[in-house]
Symmetry: C2
């Protein structure tokens, strides 16, 4: 049996005019700023007008640790949203925007897959509504203003060795990771070391995704630390005077983007912070607005539950006053097998034993997620080679953990395939079992917050922090940043810091290599192991085969 | 008497929905891709459908050498377009898009002024429809792919000392003019010298503005020379394999943007190549499409007539098969006085003598423009302090040159003020006096083309080219590039290469410092004097006062 490709399916979509999708949500035409006929931004005026409505129920979709087999977290998010609508619930989907650069490295696709997709998927993977370009512009303006400030006399006495504000570009460009700039003589400034990150790694991106509105955005931008003076005191963005102009550049980017699924259900695709050095969630403004417009809002978090869901709970929900009613943890039989030791090439053969051996990874995520006081449903994202026995093995294991696993076939069948999942999720959400709380209080010390996550989520014996790092954390506490949550940057492939350690390891420790203060976003980034903020292109980048065909359609992107 | 600011006037505009503006041009709604309610891109399908229609008449608006007093070339272009519509002609306006970065340096505004403006003017000076961001992305992709190619084995044997493809960012960032990249060890590539230009200076921008369609665009992108091998042979963009993916990134940017004037007349705002190292005109696709939709198309060229109009005629019209019916040369009494030796601070006082003394600058432009076989109308862009006697002095001078000067008050009065100008322009266009031809043939040698422009337009004794430059030109001729036009890069402030030499100098010579081949755009850039491809920010950048006010309106940008 052969299956259609994602792009084939997407091209066959019977899209409704976006004004009609908005109309069904009760958004008047004048509050929808169209970008083409299938995308629109929602006005702040409308968002303000619904602020006093009651909230719908929030459902988080997360996953086991990612494996090369793929889990389908976004696909399941879309499939569940469609499924809820199918069973008569008013549901919206909230996912992140895709980063442009990486699509030219590996074949992309951040819009779901099969019959559970958001459209227009090509545009979602290209310029979309220009939000990321606006973030790049705002970031670049501040970059230019910092060096310009130094050039024209450096009134703030910036130590040019301690400019912590790096530049960004939305492209995988390893050659820019580390540079020396301002070369070429007096007219070009004072030579110094510098470097570029990819746009999604910008603190501006993290802020846009956490800010409540443009006023809050401007304040947070002003709060960002861009450099240190010779006396080690911080220089803020507002000392450079850039936050007002940056806000102007971001005024449209701040508004949620309305699009639709293949089944014409509404989705907000907005924001896309790096799930590594930021929290990796759909924007607060999109999620909170969706909760006013729908009875169910399905959203996702980056990477596996140890990283993404933890940050969703401890950072996004804490900061935005959100509380999920259910968490859906996505697993696949194939990923269980890989966790059980099967190589990717051998995934085709049935192996119930390997599935059972891999299940403890899932089990630990279930346990962790429950520790936030939220009921868990496991979605087994069906793959055509899965056998009945393998699927049953996962279901049995999950039942043994006091949770329920539901097979879902949305990839193959759309909402027809996710109906059972949707019913189970709705049933649990309506039962009101959730009693959400972050796993650490604001007033806990920064070091203890790190230890709490390492012990309770990663199940490590301890976090290893040397004196320099402990002193740094104390200094920030003295400066008034002690109440911030911590944002862990760790490999997504393992509970430990060793990406090859699959399953549910214990007995490990977590070395903290570095801590960084994102004073505008409002968290302390805790770097455990290598952290890559500028990816490179592979030997054969997908760009080599991306082109327009004779019909003007895009080939090679998916 | 006090006047409203441009932004005040723009905010009071009674805009029509852009679909309505398009409808009046005969563009069906499905062929208009909206960007908000007041901007739309025109589909290629529609453009193809009108290809066989007869062309309207093309009117070029150019100017004397710019002075700090300002001439109002865009304002006059808009005013003339509105004036033509007022007197019952079906007219369209074609102008360039604004570069984002420079607006954060000096107060901006590329949408005209007073009552002769294009709206939405704020967005035109910010992200607009994202065309420049797409160009930045496409350019950046190629940049990353070149270094990635070198990183993964350098099959093309690129000499890393001879990578001529510079990076771009749409921001005034002098610190990036000259850098060393790929520092930090093996994983980051091979260290080399590099640098950034501003996006408008990208050859991708020049190509987008000269390409006929996406196929032509892709071919030209492939033709760009990005580096040289150790054996000095050129490495083309297509050797890197980037042109297909770049075309995908540019597919929407290639389509003209429809907006409107304050008087609801249609305008295409599309493309914005640097008028220095490129040709500086509205895109060929926009201009040629407008000629199918209107009886009169008013467009402009960058800088003064010696640079902008010369390139419009010798590059854009030659390449696109266009022929202007009339040229309007914009002058102001104030600029005449500055050419006559008056300082900016003293412009308020009447000085007929200074006006007369400055007129020869205008006279030479008239003579030059006529040498292309096109009749010339001088538009005296009225300024409130101009006296009757001063205006009469300009009119008398122009009459003595065998041309006609018309006072135009569009800035103050909109089309009511430009009616006389419009009538005169229409009358001359309809008389069919034009017999346009570029001033040099394709088959002339590159060196002779340079001499022709220097002698016939700049009125220099000669162009000075040393052996290295002459040899380079010969080499390109041998390689098959001899048929290309030349694109002069020279100060816009003088006919000579000395920016302080106002008026109509003679006896000077033009030193050619450097020649560059833009093989994709299809011209040889001839650098005479300093050429700045990455501006810096001033001591007090306008960004410091740009912000959103409490009503969410932009302050400080204009």
């Amino acid at each position: 049996m052969s299956y259609k490709s994602d792009i084939q399916i997407a091209r066959e979509a019977k899209k409704q005019p976006i004004m009609q999708i908005g109309n069904a949500l009760g958004i008047p035409a004048e509050d929808l700023l169209p970008y083409g006929h299938d995308k629109a931004k929602v006005s702040q005026k409308f968002i303000n007008s619904v602020k006093d409505r009651p909230d719908g129920k929030l459902i988080l979709v997360t996953a086991i640790n990612p494996t090369p087999a793929g889990e389908g977290k976004t696909t399941t998010t879309v499939g569940l949203g469609d499924g809820l609508n199918r069973i008569g619930k008013k549901a919206m989907i909230c996912i992140r925007e895709a980063s442009l650069g990486p699509n030219f490295g590996m074949k992309g696709g951040a819009a779901g897959g099969g019959y559970a997709q958001i459209v227009p998927m090509e545009e979602m993977n290209l310029h979309f509504t220009g939000d990321f370009h606006a973030i790049t512009s705002a970031h670049s303006l501040l970059s230019a203003m910092i060096d310009n400030h130094i050039y024209w006399g450096n009134e703030q006495d910036i130590d040019i060795r301690r400019v912590v504000w790096r530049r960004v570009v939305d492209m995988n460009d390893r050659a820019l990771r580390q540079i020396t700039c301002s070369l070429g003589g007096v007219a070009n400034g004072f030579p110094r070391e510098a470097g570029f990150d990819i746009t999604v790694a910008s603190e501006v991106m993290a802020i846009l995704c956490l800010a409540n509105d443009l006023k809050d955005l401007e304040k947070r931008l002003g709060d960002m630390i861009v450099a240190y003076r010779r006396d080690r005191s911080p220089v803020y963005c507002r000392d450079i005077g850039a936050e007002g102009a940056m806000t102007v550049l971001l005024k449209d980017a701040m508004q949620p983007n309305l699009v639709q699924t293949l089944e014409n259900n509404p989705a907000f695709v907005h924001g896309g912070p790096f799930a590594n050095i930021a929290h990796g969630c759909n924007s607060v403004i999109a999620t909170t607005t969706a909760l006013k417009l729908a009875d169910y809002v399905v959203t996702e978090a980056g990477f596996g539950a140890d990283l993404g869901a933890e940050k969703f709970m401890n950072i996004k929900c804490r900061k935005a006053g959100l509380a999920p009613s259910v968490v859906v943890c996505v697993a696949t039989v194939r990923a269980m097998k890989m966790n059980g030791g099967v190589a990717k090439a051998d995934l085709g053969a049935e192996s119930v034993e390997a599935v059972k051996k891999g299940c403890p990874n899932l089990g630990r995520h279930i346990e962790n997620l429950k520790s936030f006081g939220v009921p868990v449903v496991v979605a087994i994202n069906h793959f055509v080679t899965d056998t009945e026995a393998e699927i049953q093995a996962v279901k049995d294991y999950v039942a043994g953990q006091g949770a329920v696993a539901v097979l879902s076939r949305h990839w193959e069948l759309g909402s027809e395939g996710s109906e059972e999942l949707a019913r189970k999720v709705a049933e649990i959400a309506e039962a009101g079992q959730a009693n959400f709380a972050p796993i650490y209080p604001d007033e806990m010390s920064l070091a203890d917050k790190i230890q709490t996550i390492c012990k309770r989520i990663y199940r490590a014996d301890e976090a290893l922090m040397d004196k320099k790092i402990r002193d740094q954390l104390k200094l920030w506490e003295e400066q008034g940043y002690g109440h911030l949550p911590v944002c862990m940057a760790k490999t997504q492939y393992s509970f430990s810091t060793d990406p090859n350690l699959r399953g549910a390891p214990t007995g490990h420790s977590v070395p903290v290599r570095e801590v960084r203060l994102s004073a505008g976003a409002g968290f302390v980034v805790v770097v455990c192991g290598e952290i890559m903020t500028m990816p490179g292109l592979p030997r054969q980048p997908s760009a080599l085969s991306i082109r327009l065909n004779d019909d003007g359609q895009i080939e090679g992107l998916f």
